[in-house]
Amino acid sequence: MGDAGTLTAMLLVAVFAPVLSGLATLALPFRAITMRVLVAFAGPAASVVCLGSIISRFGMDEGAVGVPFIPSINCNLDLIADPLSLFFGLLVSGIGCLIVLYARGYFGKDEASLRRFYPTLGFFATAMMGIVLSDSTMGMFLFWELTSVSSFLLIGWDWQNPRAVRLAVQAFVTTGLGGLALLAGVILLGVTTGQWTMSGLIKLAESGALLEFDRGLLIGSFVLLFIGAAAKSAQFPLHFWLPGAMAAPTPVSAYLHSATMVKAGVFLLARLFPILAVLGAWAPTLISFGATTMVYGAYLALRSAELKKIFAYTTVSQLGLLVCAYGLGGFEYSHGGHSEQNLIWPVMQILNHAAYKAPLFIIAGAIMHLAGRKELHQLKGLLKTHPILAVIALLAAYGLAGGPFTLSFTAKEAFLYQIVHAAHENPQLWIVGVLAVFTAMCNVAIFVRMLTTFIAKPTAEGRLEHDAHASSDHALPHDEGHEGGDPDRHHHESGFWGACIWLPAALIVSIQYIGGIAPGWFGRLIQGIETHTLYWEHLAEGSTLAAFGHLVQGEISAALMMSLIAMGGGVALGLSPLFRTPVVDVFNGLFPGVMRSTEWTGFHLFHVLQSGNLRHYVAATLGALLVGVAAVAIYDPAVLEMPEWAPLGHGGHGLRIIAIALAALICLTSLIMPFTSRRVVRVLVMGACGFSVTGMYLIYQAPDLALTQLMFEIISVILFMLVLRLMPEEHKVKYHISKPLRAIFAGAVGLVIGWTVLHGGSIADQAFGERLMAQRNAQGSQVIAVADRHADGHSEAYMGGFESTGDERLGSWFERHSYEGTPETHGRGGGGKNIVNVILVDFRGYDTLGEITVLSIAVIGVLSMLASAPGVSTRRAGDDPEHSIVLAGPQPKLRSCLLQTGMSLLLPLMLMFAGYMFFKGHNEPGGGFIAGLIASVALAVYRMAEGREALRRLLPIKPGTSAALGLLIALVTAVMPLVAGLPLLTSVNTHIPLPGDGEFHFASAMFFDIGVFIVVVGVSVGMINRFEEELE
């Protein structure tokens, strides 16, 4: 395996290991809890190992590899290994490992929950790894939506709680709609630039070619992509879903909604930064939304009481800060002689947030779990009752406050430095500076509040609660998870697995202090993954104190000043009683409000549009047709002109008279129908109309059609007669002509259809005429081809792009290949001279297969509906085969002697004729359909003459069964060629010499035709038989 192969394999393992290990836990038996944890742990751990070895083996900039997935829509599993993706990949998989352990501590021995949790978590981790490692933009979108799905599953974890489900839906719809905007953005960007991979886009941007594309389209795609990122990263005013997502179990909050998934939006902006930051819209958009989110989140965090809520809103705030930082990066300024982008240590900012927010959530879950308290003011004296939790919480909160000797301090300085720098050029950006200071004050105040609460004397209430937990330690059954309505209360155990509830937090928070105390060493460690390291010089000295020294001098002092103001103000704010009463975010009502009004509007629209009256639907559908035609006629009046080629023509002398007579008959018979409501007259007239149409088929040289239509008409008339006898006769004759509006409407629709037919037919004529002329004049195949193409150009324009093969009419293609093959079809032909039949059983055999399936479904519908109709509850015993013989003798009905005598003669003749038509079918008019219909007519009339028992004696199997049998034969014939490695429905032809002169032509398509035959007989006889039974 080459290097590229190794890289591909490793990246694929990194992406898919979590979901595979998650699924593997499903295979484990119960009572293997440690094994379960270890297997679940193996997935993200494998990802970490893979990414680590990629870094050690290939370095950071190995580039992209492609694995095709759906190349036709540019959606591939292209993966990329660059600093950004590797950093995010390590973040996701690394924290994923710890969350697996934490879940074990959190859920305790509740194995049923773990069994549900680990596969879902693995699913999420894979989706998230997919986002960060994707090079393909469409592929990234795919994984992006998968994270929304997994997030939905995890927020709605407590699925019996309607509130959790509602919040899950809210999060899913919000991020899902954002995802759609992202998809639109990806497509617009891809179509505009022709690039469907991130690496391609970056190359394009680096070469400067990107800005040569249409600026409006680029800005449009930027806006769409930003909406996607903003929805995912909870930017104002779409931030409401993130605090709501805290209904999830705490491992989920710690993982998805603080450290990883909500960073996907920021990640996307980081990916797009080198591509789209050159756009003028980048900086103002990101800064304004980011800064608003930042300060609004911080304010709400200060006004929240519940621990998870507080941390959720600080997460919103921090996400705003990150977006704002990338926005500020859109400005450029000269530094050391060359132009630099105003972006400082962005990756460290992201890492920093994960390194204090994940521990905070983990500890919040642990506190709720162990102390049973959710709200901050209830946690007085935590330091005494749960010292480990309190210490870790305070260490993490110190990071939140951005105090010195934490990574957070450096990160905040970098951000303030960015603001100061940008504000030197754009003074209005000082507003952002003020907002940032206020945000920092809020964060410090939260830390101060936590500190004062934790070190305060425990109240009686708090102690009581602690004792209660201790005493209930043994009372709780082991496998019981959720107690009451509180998903965070669980049985707790001691030992290593018990410690798992705080251990991951301690590990993660240590990053804060390693980075804070030894920034130089830490800086060198992560330097490789940073893209914009301008601030590096100030940290390289090796300690925060040295950095302080630098910060005090020069322009950075402004940033430091701001930091000091924030700390002082924050301590004062935290100690003061200001902003202590909780408030509810007004935007919480946004989503329910929108949902409610959507439902309300939809319901009303439905009530207006869906009247339930068939006439309204018909009128609306055909009215739309009329409006459409009118619009076309206004747009292009040429469609109203009479076609050039005289439609009546001059040929077919003798036949013309007959044709005119037939047409008159068709029109007359159909026009009688509205004027009578006597059902017998109507059915007979309808039949007459059908028979006249049969004549028309003959004139148009379609013997197959004429035969089929004839039989079909007979069966239909019988069917109609039977059914109408089941219904009451009308009370009196009604002349519906009293509805002139209806008549005018129907006339208009008819006119449109007639006009369309006239044009279509004329175009076909014109094409034929031109081909003929070219043939006669030039007698060169090339010219024919040209004329064909020309003619087809016309017909295509009118027939909605009916596809033709090469330069010819589709019909002529069938004509050439019907009997013998040509090189075009690798020498394979249909082996039949009757082109229509060959089309049905060979060229378009798949259609026919579908068609006989429809027939079978229809007969199933007929038989089952009639069986279930209430009227059948009074079934006669004669329907049961056991009793039928008893009742067969005395028929309750009088039967026509004439019909009986006639049928006894005709039945064998007609069946023989059907057989003849069947075998003749491949080369002459005939075939399975026609033969089937002839046999059906014979059997149906026989059934009418002789009754049910006679038919049953004649046909040993039930008609419904035979329909199924025929379908089976056709299916087997269709599938057989697959066994031999040929395409579906391939026909094999042989000629078997017969004694004497003739030979029997055999095509395997004949078996298919047999299937068709049996289905047709089964269906039509079955239906008629059933209706007659209803009558008897």
């Binding site: 089941l726 037919v757 076909a764 004529d765 001279k833 049905l840 509906m865 359909f929 039509s1020």
Partner: protein, 134 residues
């Protein structure tokens, strides 16, 4: 002759639409049945005139689409499509008639307007949308 077919298709179509807009379902079923006739004639017209337009007066008929019958065959494709359509419309008609029988047994009426009120959803009320708080 295309003109003849066009007129036939127009008339039959108009009649079928008129019946479809009628007030009772038996007429609707017949309308559907006629509808398929009109559609078939429309497709048939797409194969062009059934005769060859001669250079001087003589215009022989085209031959049915069977190989070996003559030089100019009628376009087989519309015929294959119609053949399929005939069989499908048979299935649809039978199914529709069964529905008619069942409907009549269940509701005792075949009046379209009466049936429309049968399953009509209740008008929406505000009480249905309980305010959801996040």
């Amino acid at each position: 002759m295309t003109l003849l077919l066009a007129i036939c298709a127009a008339v039959v179509f108009a009649v079928s639409v008129y019946l479809l807009l009628g007030r009772e379902l038996k007429g609707v079923a017949m309308g559907v049945f006629l509808f398929s006739h009109a559609a078939h004639m429309g497709i048939l017209a797409m194969s062009g005139q059934p005769f060859v337009k001669g250079a001087g007066g003589a215009s022989p008929m085209k031959e049915p689409p069977i190989i070996g019958l003559g030089e100019h065959l009628v376009d087989p494709l519309p015929q294959a499509l119609i053949l399929t359509s005939i069989v499908i419309s048979f299935a649809v008609t039978a199914f529709l008639l069964t529905l008619l029988v069942t409907t009549h047994r269940r509701t005792g009426t075949l009046e379209v307007n009466a049936l429309a009120d049968e399953d009509r959803p209740a008008p929406p009320s505000r009480h249905q949308f309980i305010a959801t708080e996040a």
